[in-house]
Symmetry: C2
Subunit: 482 residues, 2 copies
């Protein structure tokens, strides 16, 4: 990392002081720090003074106090699966990573109370499995669920494929335990469904990406397991029809929709580049596809509902063609196209990934205009737009042509982002629908931030973290009020 | 109000200054102020320097600046239907009421976008009707909906009967426009479903009861209108069975439950005291009753679902008896018991009203213990417990016997509250499930507030409203940090 000798010596002193204050079990230094200082995609590698791995809320509090006394700032980290560098240090000489990976306990699952309490470091899929063993369901579902940790999901207000039915992570949270920048503990782990005692403090920490404190445990809502799932892939004559179909599906299917994803025809090409033996699900070739899922438990015949719904919209001509999965294996196969297309994009090399939202009624218009803007600016690039219709959430990715130098590739990625953002701003959309800001999107966030919002964010940051020890460099470069 | 001559003279000066700054159309003084300074129940009457009635966001901002320059503080008010004195002044010599009643415009309803934008002063039922004319549905539903206004619903994070399906008001809000204490405008009226750009500032103002700013407009989620509704009343052998039935209903009815209210046998007596010709819905007499509703749109046969569900649980003996409404009129009749019991309580004279939540799995235990505590302390009083099972929300009201003096009655109400709160604290429940804190619950809130929460609330209040002009006296008596 090119540190000077003097700074390196200072780092040694700080590491020793951390070990003295917190014990050798909690503190990692040297080579072991590396894996906590790389991002999920492997695009960025940095460093840190140390990695702290507390085993309890009290140990987190002790770590925060020790860092404060040494003038070190803290980058909280869960599974480090974030896509915007929110948990990767950017000031290796003055930051420690505080990993929650040892706080994995599920403190309680109460099916009668439709709630659970879980520590921040529990891996999402392990929590979902444990909940499932009690006959219940935790609906958060995303690609990284085998590695991401609950605390990170809450800190980033994670989205995923079930948002249209169950909401973002924020809507699943009943309570939080947070170690604050001064080392005190905000103890708000209630499982009350309704608690309207004034300002809801926990909301501040959801989506704050660790800039206001360290989430150590979470209480969440549970649902009945939807043990009946019907999955279908439909071909449409235009992406515009996806919006009409979505409105129709919400109404006809009684809000039992749990996924409604759109994909371009290229999705199948890309998926088969990653998974060559994937069987094509339908014969024709359509300008747009929707992968939809209806789910529920109990007395509603979900399969019959899907059949009647699709039968109706196909008869009317709103849907050109469709297949309903008749087994879990077939359903899994349909989802493999959605997942495989990401792998296929990765295999084509570095590319622009976006996470955009627009008003959902304007999703098709936006995709058309933004893809046209990319084509005009970069005729050799390929645009791939897919995402969550019900959330107005588009992942418009841009793949540069093969054979470019890394610098040329980076330049085209940057140009593509600029072209898309011009269109996005005209649609009053968001540069981050579900991934957060972190460090990666900070410049694009910063330049669009209205003065009033900046003033409020600065006032809140200064009120709760007056010495800016919590994840500095993430979300905004705060400037102390004079 | 017993003002001294000097203070009254000062009030005249302030009134004149307000008229000069804001024009005579915006400022009410004298007798016209009265109706803005009484609470919904008529228990409390105060006064105010003036009532300001702006017609636009800019006029609200001008009013805030004028008050600041005159050293007046502001009590924002919507429909003034709150139950905790959040919108009623408590310092008549230094407070103005700022009523949003003239900001009633529905700025946009967009069925394709599943969203609407509405000004704070729009009456809830008028908004719901307008949304319904576009074939959509806004699910917030409460007794006061013909008088309450959207801004007040958001400021108090209102609950109501549909919370178990659609969440509190917080979960329905997509964006806010807020005039801040310095007269600047937070412009956050986006209708994006997903927007994860860091800390979600709007969350601070939801439930803040006007202590951080004045909500002037709101963007909200809309749903498909659930045009099929099945309503049933069931008799149970014990309130404990309501918890078991609720879990079963959530699962069997595929999360299509839209109401699940419990009532005691006394509900029917009280309702018929208010509405004497109300026909009894079933023959037997049971220790507990549940009024439940399943609703949906489109292709799911809701009536059939209710019949199969009730058939199953009656065959198993979980439900002792049940009636399903076979017409809208019959359904309305069932709801009249739920609504009429409140009128019946009011007819019996002053009584304790509570708004408690406990973990929903412990609701029946709590009701038993709390009613026993009241009976031990006040053997002549009658307890009436009813509420929303799915939210763990109990309205445990206590009716003193007839023939007491007002002072005796007030003393018994106070004693009953103390007895209930002792039990509530042992259950880690909330003294305000859905009504908020306001001024009425401030002492009970204050005494239970942990030091860390108090410090956070004070830090936020001081950061956003440093001169404490926004609804002082509501929620907490803040003390400036030294």
């Amino acid at each position: 990392m090119g540190r000077s000798g003097a700074v390196a010596a200072a780092a040694d002193d700080q590491q020793e002081a951390l070990v003295r204050a917190l014990g050798p079990d909690m503190v990692l230094v040297g080579d072991e720090v590396g894996r906590y200082c790389r991002d999920w995609h492997g695009d960025v590698t940095t460093g840190a003074v140390a990695v702290l791995r507390p085993r309890s809320t009290d140990e987190v509090a002790a770590a925060v106090r020790a860092c404060a006394s040494l003038g070190l700032s803290i980058v909280p980290q869960g599974g480090n699966t974030g896509l915007v560098l929110g948990a990767v240090p950017d000031r290796p000489d003055s930051q420690v990573v505080l990993s929650l990976e040892r706080m994995t306990a599920i403190r309680r699952i109460d099916a009668d109370d439709f709630s659970a309490v879980v520590e921040a470091g529990c891996i999402l899929s392990e929590f979902k499995d444990a909940v499932g063993r009690e006959g219940m369901f935790f609906p958060l579902a995303l690609g990284a669920q085998g590695s991401c940790r609950i605390g990170g999901n809450v800190s980033t207000n994670a989205g995923g494929i079930n948002v249209l039915r169950y909401g973002m992570t924020r809507e699943l949270v009943l309570g939080l335990e947070v170690v604050l920048p001064d080392g005190t503990v905000f103890d708000g782990l209630s499982t009350l469904r309704k608690d309207n005692r004034g300002i809801d403090l926990k909301q501040l920490f959801i989506g704050a990406e660790g800039t206001l404190g360290i989430i150590t445990a979470v209480s969440v809502k549970l649902m009945p397991e939807p043990d009946r799932v019907a999955t279908a892939l439909v071909g449409l004559n235009a992406l515009d029809d996806a919006i009409v179909l979505y409105r129709r599906a919400r109404r006809d299917c009684c809000d039992l929709l749990s996924a409604f994803e759109f994909m371009p025809p290229l999705a199948f090409v890309l998926a088969r580049e990653a998974i060559p033996d994937l069987a094509m699900p339908m014969a024709g070739d359509y300008p747009a596809y929707v992968l939809m899922e209806i789910s529920g438990s109990g007395l509603v015949d979900i399969d019959d509902l899907m059949e009647r719904f699709l039968g109706g919209v196909m008869e009317e001509g709103l849907v050109a063609d469709g297949v309903i999965a008749t087994s879990k294996g077939q359903a899994r196969n349909l989802w493999l196209f959605r997942e495989g297309m990401n792998e296929g994009q990765a295999k084509r090399g570095p590319h622009l990934r976006t996470d955009i939202s627009v008003p959902l009624s304007r999703l098709a218009d936006f995709v058309r205009d933004a893809e046209a803007a990319v084509a005009a600016a970069l005729p050799d690039c390929v645009s791939v737009s897919y995402g969550h219709v019900g959330d107005g959430n588009v992942h418009l990715n841009v793949l540069p042509p093969a054979g470019l130098s890394p610098e040329q590739c980076a330049a085209q990625i940057y140009q593509a982002k600029v072209a898309i953002n011009v269109v996005l701003d005209a649609y009053h959309g968001s540069i981050s629908a579900e991934h957060g800001i972190g460090r990666l999107k900070k410049p694009d966030f910063d330049v669009r931030l209205p003065a009033v919002q900046r003033q409020l964010l600065t006032a809140i940051k200064t009120a709760i973290d007056p010495t800016f020890v919590m994840n500095p460099g993430c979300q905004l470069n705060f400037v102390q009020n004079s």
